[in-house]
């Protein structure tokens, strides 16, 4: 018993094992296997309808799995629900709270359902999400952003080992998004919390997450590291390069490739061909005053793997 406990506390916080959800013959989540480690912000990225919320619902036990199992801190959400969910704080879709109660009344509801939430802790969390002024007002009078922040408050109240946030930046202003991002990163990296965030907003995930899983049509397409990864691994030799030239349109014409973007020539080539292209431009009488390798953004990767068309 002790052995397994020690093992599970050292292992991943979340373990998805061959998880599928089939409703009425339609496969919403297809054979998902995935681990989320302590101390990381893990992004769950996909277009609308990809199965993100369905996955989160299975993760917190709101819906059953058709096949497979999910373990949280080594405890199955299916067979050991109360112990598994003990370590979880979550927002699923919009944070729908009791509109006829005050923000404080709502937090008290959730505090009473745990043994480890003190009044001081509630005040601390309320101050953190910046609702101290309005916490005694009815939730009915809150803006979407305030509800979102109250949602975050109820999720972190009991210091969960796993924090699950479904589209958490909905309704937040840029300042709020930035604060939330900094907080989540601090929570993960300083306190070792595993943070599981879903979103369809790519750039946001790039800034927030350590690793990102891309999901489409219920299938896991790819898991990638984000921060500190330039996206130029040996297998991804094709890069986007920007050449600073006098007249981009003529350069495109002479080269018969690439496109003119913001006065520059942007072309997708293999890394080793940069010098060759430069030489060709110079030969064609087009002076090159600068060359930049554009970092492949997660968006490019996302669109690439999901086969989407960049607008």
């Amino acid at each position: 018993m002790n052995q397994t406990d020690a093992k599970s506390s050292a292992g991943p916080v979340v373990r998805f094992r061959e998880v599928s959800k089939i409703i009425g013959g339609k496969t919403l989540v297809d054979n998902l296997t995935l681990d989320v480690q302590p101390g990381e912000v893990f992004g769950f990225l996909g277009p609308n309808g990809a199965g993100k919320t369905t996955t989160i619902r299975m993760l917190v036990g709101l819906i059953s799995m058709s096949t497979g199992d999910i373990q949280i801190c080594g405890k199955s959400i299916t067979t050991d629900f109360e112990n598994a969910i003990e370590s979880v704080g979550a927002i699923v879709e919009n944070p729908e709270l009791y509109s006829y109660m005050s923000g404080y009344g709502n937090l008290m509801q959730y505090a009473r359902m745990r043994s480890n939430v003190s009044k001081e802790r509630i005040d601390e969390v309320v101050a953190f999400v910046g609702l101290t002024e309005r916490i005694q007002d009815k939730v009915r009078t809150y803006s979407l952003g305030m509800r979102q922040r109250l949602g975050v408050a109820q999720a972190i109240l009991h210091r969960p080992k796993l924090l699950i946030l479904d589209e958490p930046t909905n309704g937040l202003d840029p300042q709020g998004i930035r604060e939330l991002r900094d907080y989540l990163r601090a929570l993960a990296h300083k306190e070792g919390t595993a943070v599981f965030v879903s979103s369809h907003l790519l750039t946001e995930m790039e800034l927030m997450c350590d690793r990102v899983a891309i999901i489409q049509n219920g299938k896991l397409i790819e898991v990638q590291k984000v921060q500190g990864d330039t996206g130029e691994g040996t297998e991804k030799t094709e890069v986007e390069v920007e050449f600073e030239v006098g007249d981009a349109a003529i350069a495109v014409q002479k080269l018969g490739a690439g496109e003119a973007k913001g006065g520059h020539l942007v072309i997708r080539i293999e890394h080793s061909d940069i010098a060759k292209i430069n030489a060709r431009l110079v030969e064609a009488g087009i002076p090159v005053s600068g060359i930049r390798v554009l970092k492949r953004s997660l968006e490019d990767q996302f669109l690439e793997v999901t086969g989407g068309v960049k607008s």
Binding site: R57, L62, I63, A90, N94, P95, E96, G105, Q109, Y110
Partner: protein
């Protein structure tokens, strides 16, 4: 156990924080005070306390309906408000959550009963007096009223449970309430179709066994084929069945949308 009481406390807050709960209780209290006062003002002082409460009993469907209203809201409003998601992701099994809701609803049934019968009895006693003290008719009257109150609460328990179960199964308070009221009216239609006098199965119908007041007139009940203990047993089986279905569906349900 202490922690489970906190769940019940949570549910109580959800009930009593709403203005409409107090409107319902207020209506009952107004009737419980108003009717004996009206009788006293008409100079009906010789009716005594039991006569007063007897007239109040004509309105005994009100506490039952009000209790069913709150029961119908209990589970359904969590679904319509979307709050069910945040409620179910706490370290409590669904059965315990449902149990805490049912207990809170039963406490409300107790509250409406006290507001209606308790206050009615008290006001009647103060305004109308005891009637002719110790006389045989008064004692019989008193016994009849007490039985009536208890029977009303049994009916209330059943209707509240039905509304609660439908609310948990169909997640719609409107439907739960409508079906409960339709149940009440359909009762006489169904019993006339499947008359217990003609069909043996008829005596197991819910409606045949409700309204236990039928046994004050005759020990064999309205149709002459049942008895008080038989009806209580049948009602107990229905009670357990409704709760079982509610618990089964609530536990299995996929909470989505």
């Amino acid at each position: 156990m202490m922690n489970f009481l906190k769940l019940v406390h949570n549910e109580n807050i959800k009930i009593y924080i709403r203005k409409r709960t107090w409107i319902l209780l207020g209506i009952l209290i107004v009737l419980a005070i108003g009717i004996p006062s009206f009788i006293a003002a008409q100079g009906g002082g010789d009716m005594g306390v039991w006569g007063g409460v007897g007239i109040l009993m004509y309105f005994n469907f009100l506490p039952i309906i009000f209790s069913a209203v709150i029961a119908a809201e209990s589970v359904a409003s969590e679904f319509t408000g979307g709050t069910i998601k945040l409620l179910l992701i706490r370290p409590w099994s669904r059965i315990k959550i449902l149990a805490s809701k049912f207990i809170a609803v039963l406490l409300f049934l107790l509250a409406v009963s006290v507001a209606f019968f308790g206050i009615g009895l008290l006001v009647s006693y103060v305004l109308l007096g005891t009637g002719v003290a110790g006389s045989a008719p008064t004692a019989i009257q008193a016994q009849g009223i007490w039985l009536s109150v208890i029977y009303t609460m049994v009916d209330g328990l059943l209707y509240t449970t039905i509304a609660f179960a439908i609310s948990a199964v169909f997640r719609s308070s409107m439907l739960a309430l409508a079906l409960t009221v339709i149940f009440e009216f359909m009762g006489s239609v169904v019993t006339s179709l499947v008359s217990p006098e003609k069909y043996a199965i008829g005596k197991y119908l819910l409606f045949v066994n409700m309204d236990l007041d039928q046994y004050t007139g005759s020990p064999l009940g309205r149709y002459g084929v049942t008895s008080l203990s038989f009806s209580l047993t049948v009602l107990a089986v229905y009670f357990v069945a409704f709760l079982f279905i509610a618990a089964y569906v609530f536990r299995k349900r996929d909470v989505a949308g």
